[in-house]
Symmetry: C2
Subunit: 322 residues, 2 copies
């Protein structure tokens, strides 16, 4: 079977342009009235968009909940803004969660490229179709941020956006680093770590290795891993696993110290690879962290002679679930 | 080095008695006034107590947040009940989170066996000392539930408690199953799955394997794993990994079906072991699920000639962090 990588590589390379387009998609879309809770209902890549929103709003007075399930929690009410996010619009969990949010009279905005969700939603942000959902992360995040900005729930500064786009636009840097990391990983199982704040970035790496590279991959957060997972390194085999630390200047000083000491301790058992996120703003830190992983997962697929684009097992599962 | 397992085995065997004692520890402790958010700040085993509370309150109108970090979120306020939970009372993240909750004027109850936290807390539930924190899960969960019951935030029925204690008291059943599962795992890395609702049970298994058995272990939830992790099974090696599915009659019918089909699909790559939780009530489902894993992790330590009790690497890390 020949490996056709052109679609996924192109999608990853065009990610900065996708973010720019995505920023305009929420134009004119806002909610009014009291909002004291935000829920993002979605699965896979769509849920990661919610995780990133939660990270971005980490210092907000309004809590963000990411729901990866068939219903929204019972505390969802009229004062809850619910984003129902599904790239295809046909994710059964998200449609079911959307319906439960309707029963709870939440303010709902659907974000989708089509499908049943676009037919059912009263308020809709339509995003461009034709990508693998995981390659559409810009479309699955920035419209949510746009709605919150339009609704005066969060202030997004122009220079945050500009910096992020500028950093990502130096695509070659991420590409080269991603290829280098992929080579280093080889056939080993990567375990990706970040601070609690950036743990969605670590999770995104994990899911990209799963879906693009079709390999096992796991993640955990600092400092929680210091309380359990680190003990599992006692019998760890350098040939089986490799650890990746995603670093940020936004990490608490104690977290930085924990990462340094943990690296020293576990380096006797496994190789540890540091990945340094970039930028002055949190948005840049988040998306530069993600961009390294997107390329790493792509090149790991190539190295293992895997076509990164199709995920046959997920498609097969969906068919069997019908 | 001789392996002294007596402490950990004894602690696990006495877990039903610990739960009974723990149920009385919140006696007379309640909060009054408006509560519209509950936060559990803790790390490791103490945070798992919070995860279990969140699962138990999954249909509540009051959201529960588990904070594994150095500070509580900014939305913590006078109407927030914060449990600061640290078995030793000296967990730096929890003390720091406790202090941030005080600055936010939250209603705080500390749950600890002593340490700095017990000295700093104005409201305190003192739990018995002398155990490994992970062996004190009863003390780290039931006092929180007790406070919520005393404060009329949740109604805990006597027959839920009775059923759970009855089920756990048939200890031999869990012991025998745990030993059998440990034998099956051998030197492979377990990946433990449960529904989103019971994912804290899967996480508890993971942490017990890490700390008791000193082995790598990972977890994920249904149906999210169907959207990414399942694709990682393509290159999975039966000799490296084994998958464990924790099942419950409380699982959504679609989740049950997803588990069945996923098992069929991944069984071509790895062995899959089902673990069936017990009981009519959610509390029994949670704790019977946990109890199997506690014994499995204990017997996996023995099988690999590991002393389950000490976690030298965590103690070493703490010393180096000072």
């Amino acid at each position: 079977m020949p490996i056709d990588n052109s679609n996924m590589l192109k999608a990853i390379e065009e990610f900065p342009a996708q973010c720019k387009t995505a920023l305009g998609l929420a134009k004119g879309m806002a909610v009014s009235g009291k909002i004291n809770k935000i829920v993002v209902a979605g699965m896979g890549g769509s849920a990661v968009g919610g995780d990133l929103l939660k990270a971005y709003l980490h210092s907000s007075k309004i809590p963000v909940f990411v729901v990866r399930d068939y219903k929204v929690p019972n505390f969802v009410d009229e004062a809850t803004l619910v984003f129902a996010v599904s790239y295809s619009g046909n994710t059964e969990e998200t449609i079911s969660a959307f319906e439960s949010a309707e029963r709870n009279k939440a303010k709902i905005i659907a974000v989708t490229s089509g499908g049943a969700l676009s037919a059912q939603a009263k308020k809709l942000i339509k995003i461009p179709a034709g990508l693998q959902p995981r390659a559409a992360l810009g479309y699955l995040f920035f419209p949510l941020l746009g709605v919150l900005a339009n609704s005066n729930i969060v202030a997004v500064k122009d220079d945050e956006i500009t910096e992020m786009i500028d950093i990502l636009s130096k695509t070659d840097e991420f590409k080269i680093a991603g290829e280098r990391i992929a080579k280093k990983i080889g056939t080993r199982t990567p375990i990706i770590y970040a601070s609690e704040l950036l743990s969605p970035v670590a999770y995104r790496w994990k899911t990209q290795f799963n879906e693009n590279s079709k390999t096992a991959a796991f993640h955990h957060a600092f400092s929680e891993m210091n309380h359990n997972e680190i003990a599992g390194y006692q019998a760890m085999d350098k040939n089986k696993f490799i650890s990746i630390f995603i670093r940020s200047k936004y990490d608490n000083e104690r977290i930085k110290k924990r990462m340094d000491i943990t690296k020293e301790i576990i380096s006797t058992k496994v190789d540890v690879e540091d990945v340094f996120t970039k930028g002055e703003h949190l948005l840049s830190r988040i998306f530069s962290g993600i961009y390294y992983g997107d390329f790493a997962s792509y090149y790991l697929a190539l190295a293992n002679k895997i076509d990164p684009t199709p995920v046959a097992v997920i498609e097969n599962l969906k068919k069997r679930l019908k």
